[in-house]
């Protein structure tokens, strides 16, 4: 924890050689890896890692609407709960359930996923997406969304397209892809982007602190590439997964 603070003081996030603190290039993404079916209880589940950020998403449903009042007659009810483990951050804090940040992120994820799920095909049902952060090292939103996409796909829920997400920032006058915690907490601009790769649509765009228009363009561009890269990887993982299923079926 404390070494991070000491870093925070100096504003040098790009070494003269053009490398970032963790040795990445500005346009380089962290190591990503995904695993499907980590939660046997769930209808679909996936773990997604971006560097040190590690999240698990589990999908339950489509199932009977639990709270009768919430039932929607012409489409499915999509719900999402985002939770951070107490040990997920460097400092140990017992965070109360449903604090502002948590509810906000839950909402973001829910809306993003809802946009790509074909809800009208499953009226009067409920789909629960639970996301659990095991380690937070920047870009949790993106990681959660990617995990959720995989989990939904694994649960066989009809979707228009896979949503993939990636964040990008702008520090020391250079656009940076996939910020980690240190860069994220530097207070610079931070853009989280979620896209539907094949439909080529933007479903999520969050940016904080101000950014000149052309700088934004470049950051946006970078983030989009990031999303595409993630999309490629997610597709591979899914194909792999389906192959496995085929083998098990003995097809």
């Amino acid at each position: 924890m404390d070494h991070r603070i000491s870093l925070k003081k100096e504003t040098e996030y790009i070494s003269p050689e053009g490398l970032r603190l963790d040795g990445r290039l500005p346009s380089e993404m962290r190591q990503i890896s995904a695993e499907i079916g980590v939660v046997p209880n769930a209808d679909g589940s996936a773990a997604f890692e971006m560097g040190n950020t590690k999240v698990i998403a589990a999908v339950y449903g489509p199932r009977k609407v639990q709270n009768w009042g919430q039932q929607i007659n012409d489409q499915a009810l999509v719900r999402c709960e985002y939770r951070m483990a107490n040990f997920s951050t460097g400092d140990r804090v017992r965070r109360p359930k449903g604090d502002r940040r948590t509810t906000e992120i839950s909402l973001v994820i829910r809306q993003t996923m809802e946009a790509c799920i074909m809800t009208q095909q499953m009226p009067r049902t409920q789909i629960d997406i639970y996301v659990q952060v095991l380690q937070a090292d920047g870009g949790t939103r993106s990681a959660c969304i990617n995990a959720a996409t995989l989990a939904l796909a694994a649960a066989g829920i009809p979707m228009r397209d896979l949503v993939t997400s990636c964040s990008a920032g702008y520090l020391n006058g250079t656009p940076l892809l996939d910020l980690n915690y240190v860069e994220d907490s530097a207070g610079g601009p931070d853009v989280t982007l979620g896209i539907l790769p094949t439909l080529d649509r933007v479903t999520l765009l969050q940016a904080d602190s101000k950014l000149t228009m052309d700088a934004f363009e470049s950051v946006m561009q970078l983030a989009t590439e990031g999303c595409m890269a993630v999309a490629g990887y997610i597709r591979r993982v899914l194909r792999e997964h389906t192959k496995q299923l085929e083998l098990r079926r003995g097809v």
């Binding site: 046997p40 709960e81 483990a85 629960d128 639970y130």
Partner: protein, 287 residues
């Protein structure tokens, strides 16, 4: 949690009576256990334990604290369990809290010993840095990833693994300080103290189905248990804590019988666990 038809119930029950459970186990055999240590780098120690489909993570975080003036030469340990909603929709929101507290309390009872600290599985004296001034506070967090029965045993074992994975930094205390204020401390980043977990007990939960006891019950089996007893037993065969679960009453003699059975089971379990842990440590060091 699990809805079972009368037929299924009868099947499971019958299987247990004939010492052949639905997943092919005997009454007193455990599901395969796999342990993975150091899964959470931010923590001082961590372990992920899978027992069949039950999947839990335990982490240990150590922080410098002030000992309570009741026990000036002891560190403090707190145990929290969180049932993540990903394990089951019923844990959503506040839904998991009841089970979480129940598990936390049971674990504290089984691992922390009596109020005077006697019989504590975790040696609190070893957490002492300077009497009455500085000690280590251990925060042990359990997280349930997937629940398929026998959570308490799994968490207990995971915590044991996490503790043996824990390295507590060496602390150098500044030489001079006045009587009143806290002395300066500096925590070294390189050299760590390994934690001795030989005395950390394991938890054995015996679930009573009909007139038989089974270990490591799956959630199906738990769903129609009449009652269960969780005994924590250390390597010396001493009982370090006991919790009864399930409301139904049992005859005192049965309780004692269950305890002795648990004791017998524990010997194998401890051995198995230790080997698993050392294996996990090995390939963590390897990787």
């Amino acid at each position: 949690m699990v809805g079972l038809s009368a037929g299924e119930k009868h099947f499971i029950k019958g299987g247990i009576d004939q010492d052949l459970r639905s997943d092919g186990r005997k009454r007193l055999t455990y599901r395969p256990i796999s342990i993975e240590t150091g899964v959470i780098p931010q923590a001082n120690g961590s372990a992920r334990l899978r027992m069949g489909d039950t999947d839990v993570i335990a982490t240990v975080k150590a922080e410098i604290g002030k000992p309570s003036h009741l026990h000036p030469n002891r560190g403090k340990v707190a145990i929290f369990v969180d049932c993540s909603a990903i394990a089951s929709p019923v844990f959503e929101g506040r839904g998991g809290e009841e089970l979480s507290t129940e598990l936390s309390v049971a674990l504290q009872r089984c691992l922390l010993g009596g109020k005077s600290g006697a019989g504590a599985g975790i040696d609190l004296l070893s957490l002492n840095v300077m009497e009455g001034k500085i000690c280590w506070d251990l925060y042990i967090e359990g997280l349930v990833i997937n629940a398929d029965g026998n959570l308490l045993d799994a968490l207990g074992a995971a915590i044991k693994a996490a503790l043996s994975n824990t390295g507590i930094p060496k602390v150098n205390v500044a030489a001079e300080f006045s009587a009143e204020e806290q002395p300066e401390v500096d925590i070294s980043d390189e050299d760590f103290l390994r934690f001795d977990t030989s005395s950390v007990p394991v938890i054995i939960t015996l679930t009573k189905v009909g007139k038989h006891y089974i270990v490591d019950a799956t959630s199906e089996e738990e769903s129609h248990m009449s009652s269960a007893i969780s005994v924590s037993i250390n390597s010396r065969g001493q009982i370090c804590g006991l919790t009864k679960r399930g409301g139904a009453g049992v005859d005192p003699s049965v309780v004692l019988d269950m305890i002795s059975v648990a004791k017998h089971v524990s010997e194998h379990f401890i051995m198995k666990l230790d080997s698993e842990i050392s294996a996990a440590e090995a390939d963590e060091a390897g990787s």
